[in-house]
Every structure is written in C-alpha cells, then in structure tokens.
Symmetry: C2
Subunit: 384 residues, 2 copies
C-alpha cells in the first residue's frame, strides 16, 4: 500500500493507456475508454500527449458494425531503445531492441577463453558503439544496456559474484561498464534474462508460472512466478545443476556428491565418453550416437534419464504450467527429445502431471540478448 495522490494517479493512467495500446493495438480511443473505465475526454487528452511525445501514432480508419468510423491507434517502435548483451565463454552477442521488442541491430564477436576482464569490457563498449552508429540510433533514445551472464549474479549491486565460464569472481561489472558507456547498465544471470524473452514472445508468453531449464556447458533453471522472475533471497533460486539427484553418485567439482550437473552437463558427457574413446567435443558424442555406437547410445540414454528426473522434480517443487527445455544439448541433439518425453511420462508425479506442458525453446541463440533488452525496458521505462 502507498499513499495515492492525484499526480501519481495521472501518471499511472497515462502509463496504463500506453500499455493497453502497446498490448492491444490496433485499438480505438473508444475501446480504451471501455477497457479502462476512464472517460472518452480523458482518453483523448492522454492519447494527444502520447502522440506529441512520439509513443503513439494513428493508423487506419475502420468501420465498425454500426456504421461509425473510428481511428485506430498503434505504438511507435522507434521511440526508445534498449541494448541487450550476452557474455559467454567464447562469444559476445549484442542486440539493439526497440520499444516493441524488435531486434533492430545485431552483432556477435568472439571472446578468447583467457581474455582479461578489461579486454572483454573494452570489446563490448567498442562493438556496442559501432552498432549504434552503424544503425544511426540516436543516443538520447537509448534507455540503457543489460547484460546476461552465466553464474551467480548479485544483480542488485551490479556485481558478478562468480562466473566459472568467464573466470570472473567478485567483479563490479555495472560500475566498470557504466564508466565506459554513456548510459545505465544492469546485469543478471543469463537464464533469468532468457526466461524474460520466453515470457515476452516465446513459450511462456501466455503463462504466469513457467520454468526454463538450460542444459549445455552449464545446467540451471529460471522461474517465472505470477509473471515475475523468482529470485529467492540472493538471486540464486533455480540452481538445479547442484541439486543432489543421487547421494551415492558422481563427485561434483563443487565438492558434493551426486549433483545433477555431473550427469547431464556437456563436461560430464565428454568426461564419460573419454573413458571409451578419445574425443574432443560433445558434438563427437552426438555423432557417435548417430553412428549407432553403443557406448554413445548408453551415455545419451542416461543423460535423457537424468533430464527427465530433473523435470519431474521441477514439477513437484515449482508446480509450473509449462517447463521449457533449452540449451546446446537440446539444440544440437534434438534426438534426445523423444527419450525425455517418454521418461517424463514415467517419472512425473501422477496427481499433477496432466497439468504441465513440456516444451522446447525456439528463441535459439538470441534469447538471452532479447530478454536482457526487454528486462532493461521493463525496469527503466516509465513515462513521467
């Protein structure tokens, strides 16, 4: 509860009208009045203000059933922008996203495995600036930049607590990147950014309760609850990779025994494969599977088993409407889907299993960048 005054009310109404136009466009002034319960006069005044500020435009005339003609309204995409960045072990991806969530500019550049912290930051700065001028994005329209990073992220203080992939520990990324950039910077865990994109345009679009599981070099998850990111006390909720799934199982690099990640991460798959054959990358295991080599079939069979066990546990603990599977392993080895589904059907708890959908992310390699940009807009945009 907070004290309400008239000025605040006016602001809220204006933001509400803009949000409705954005979500239900094309829409007429009359319909907005109906939806909000505000008077047509108020709506006309607010819409004029929004037009002057460049957020709203008139589109077309339509004839409604009873013969009256109404002008429809739409939002303008090019009125503000946010920038999304994904930092991963060997790649940096950058996207500029407009007000309606379109990626209007895109670039990816390689990152070296042992690149210094400052070097990566300079690379990000240089390439973001290049992208901005290449696409003639006016600086004053850029609200800010958000970065998605694998690891434990203290998003409130802008600090990367630890990222094994980037080999960073306790770096003040927001401070260091803000200094180089001219605008606001925010950071968060990559999967938390990605599920924002899934909520905006992907498999969680119509869901208030969704879990995204990432299976690749790392294993993790992110949760949307009542439409918001579920963070927990220190932003680390969803660390399913280090839940114990077999107390007499594999030793994990974290020092515990039987962590889920030790059965399904790329590193785990490769390490097991090397007991049989001298292979370099996880893709070679997938190739061996396709060549009908029994050891590879065994390893990938076990992988699908443990993924299904994890899905079963996610269902019991978070009770989501939808579980979205994503990550390199799913993308590069789609054969695993059928096995996962069959095993999920066996392993999921009977009384609630009919109520959940298991689906696969379709945002491919742009999910984190898009989600970061959307999150920046959600956080930084409020019309005064």
């Amino acid at each position: 509860m907070e004290k309400q005054d008239q000025l605040l009310m006016k602001k809220q109404n204006k933001n509400l009208v803009l949000e409705i136009i954005k979500q239900q466009s094309p829409i007429s002034r009359m319909e907005i009045a109906k939806v909000t319960g505000m008077s047509p006069t108020t709506i006309t005044r607010i819409v004029s203000e929004l037009q002057e500020q460049g957020f709203v435009k008139e589109t077309e005339l339509v004839t409604s059933g009873v013969g009256r003609r109404a002008t429809l309204l739409d939002v303008c995409g090019e009125v503000i922008y946010t920038i999304g960045v994904e930092l991963d072990r060997l790649i940096i991806k950058i996207g500029i996203v407009n007000y309606i969530g379109e990626i209007v500019a895109w670039k990816s550049v390689p990152r070296e495995e042992y690149e210094m912290y400052g070097e990566t930051l300079d690379k990000v700065t240089k390439n973001v600036n290049q992208l901005i001028s290449l696409y003639n994005i006016p600086m004053e329209k850029i609200l800010g930049l958000a970065v998605g990073i694998p690891g434990l992220i203290d998003y409130k203080n802008g600090i990367v607590d630890v990222s094994d992939q980037l080999k960073w520990k306790k770096v003040n990324l927001v401070k260091d990147l803000s200094k180089r950039m001219g605008f606001e910077v925010m950071i968060d865990n990559e999967l938390k950014m990605k599920i924002v994109a899934e909520k905006f345009t992907g498999k969680a679009k119509d869901s208030q309760n969704a879990v995204l599981m990432g299976i690749g070099s790392g294993v993790g998850s992110a949760i949307i609850l009542n439409g918001e990111i579920y963070r927990g006390e220190t932003n680390n909720a969803g660390e399913i990779g280090h839940t114990i799934i077999d107390p007499t199982g594999n030793v994990c690099s974290c020092g515990k025994i039987g962590c889920l990640a030790t059965y399904i991460s790329e590193g785990a798959i490769v390490a097991d494969a090397r007991k049989v054959k001298a292979i370099g990358r996880v893709e070679e295991v997938f190739d061996s599977y396709r060549n009908n080599e029994s050891w590879a079939i065994n390893i990938m069979d076990r992988t699908s088993t443990y993924i299904a066990l994890a899905v079963s546990n996610i269902l019991c603990l978070y009770n989501p409407e939808v579980i979205i599977l994503s990550g390199n392993t799913i993308q590069k080895f789609p054969e695993i889907k059928e096995a996962i589904e069959k095993k999920c059907d066996l392993y999921m708890w009977e009384p609630i299993k009919e109520k959940v959908k298991i689906v696969y992310s379709e945002l491919s390699d742009r999910g984190v960048v898009l989600g970061a940009a959307i999150q920046a807009q959600n956080t930084l945009f409020y019309l005064d």
Copy 2:
C-alpha cells in the same frame, strides 16, 4: 495497473493507517502522518473513523523529547475474529483468533481413522459452535473460518482434490462446510497454512523468503516468497516428498522410484524397522535408538542424511533466507537435529550456504490452526 479514483484512494489510505497502527503500535497520530506523508488533519479524521468502528483505541499519554505530549494509539483485539481448523488423520483442532492474532479459544477432538466425510463435518460444526458460545464470541464479529488439510487442495474452488490422510478424494469441502456454518469458509494445504503462522509470529517473521519443511507421517514443504505464499499453477508447489532423490532407490506408493518420502516419512521408518523388529509405532524406533540398538541408530542415521539432502536441494532451488524444519519426527525425536545440522554443513552448496539459516519451528501443535485463522483474516478483512 488499475484505474485509481478518489474513493478507492480514501479506502486505501484508511486501511493503510489501520495497518500501520496494528504493526507499529503504540504510535501517535503525528508519527503516522510522518510515515504516510498524509496531513495531520487527514490522519485525525481517519483515526476518528477507526475509533468509532472499534478498531482503534487511545492508550497512554507520553511526553516526547521536546516537551510535547502525544496520545498513543493501539488496535483493539476483540473487534473481529476468525476461526482456524486443522483436520488430520486422528485429530481435529479448532482455534478462535482475534484481530491481533491471539488464540482466544481452543479445542481439540479426536477423529476416527475411518470416520465418514459427513461425520467429520458435523463434528467440526458442532465443536466450532460450542466454542463460540462457550467464549461468548458475537457471531457478527466472526469474519470466517479456514481449514488446513494434508493433501492436494484446490483452494480456489474449495475442493480437496486428494487427501491420503483423511481418505478424501474430490470433495467440495467449502460448499459442504459453508452449508453447515453461518459464515465464509476457505481451505488450503496444512503446510501452506502453517507457514502463514511462521510468517506472522514464528521463525519466518522477519523473512520475505522462507521455506517450511514438514517431516512426519507425510513429507512436504511450503514456501513464502516476497512475503506471499508460493502456490505454483495448481497450488501444489512444494511437494518435495515426491521429488526423486535416488533413481535406483525405494519404490514409492505413488508408483515412482526413489521419492524422498520413501526414506524419511514415518511410514518409511516404521516399514524399515519392521524388517528387524516387530514394532507398532514410530515412537518405538526412537525408543530403540535411545536404547542404543544399532539397527535403530542406522535407520535414524539414514533419515537424517536424506533430510539434509532435501535441505540442500531446497537451498539450491528456492534460495530462501531461512529453512524451517517442523513436524512430528523433529518434535518427538529432537536428537536428530544435531545430525541434520552436521550433514547440512557437508551437503549444502558452498557458494550460497552461508546465506541461509536452518531453524526449527516452535509453534508446536497450534501452527496450522493459527496460520489458517491468520490467512482467513488476511483474505477476508478489508475495511470499506
């Protein structure tokens, strides 16, 4: 976002002032004005209304530092009541709770293992009514009644989907109990009710992110996230008893293999004990432990191991500030606490383990009833 109008504003301000007096009493009008940013005149008007309606009373005069005297305000406990009920396999507990959360009347009656549904409802009705007249609670001051039940509860529609303990399946409890009672009835899972009490007055009082784990005849958990109950899509979030903790482990009655409950529930402990000795109840296992019988020490050692594994997984998945352990096993066998703590220290994930507190519920056998009554007040009380 919703359309704000002045009437709504007035209501919100009034409820805000009452809430502040309730939480920060004794408090002066001046302080309320300071906290809310409302004018002293407005506060005086609102407080008068609240006094007339019986919610607020003046308590004492205090002399503040600069020599001015202020009258302090407090809320009245006896202005409204809610009733909390706990239904369990062999017992029915009833409590009447006043506006400030005091249990002013209490009663518990036995329930038969194979008691019919209607019989239990009649018993609840009869005993609630007896308690109301015994304590002279005015009917018009009773807002409603809430019931906490073990099992899967569709709290929105007031239906018990399934309760193994009560042997109920798809019963419309809210409808059937409302018919017998004169006031509003609501229901929810017992652990969800209990964590409301922990939030109100127990170990989650100062926490926005807490998990309560219940270990007894059943095994489950309830989650408070950002101060609210985390429900998931169909109110079943927290079903940790059926998460798989060992894929090659015990067969569970649910049809899966390796569910947590098969290692730590009372039934599981008793079933394992019977492989060694003819025992009747779980308390006999605890006695054998105290008699230094090695089989009992082995079984309880394994129990503490699996409880600690579950706590470790709770930490990774929900990232709470506090994990509260509760239930019969913890209450009747407090020796287990030390073992759980030692093992938690070993099993919990290093990067985040310093940030969580493992504690034990102190609400004993009144937690569910109190939580249900508080939840009824939270849901049904809003000052017009």
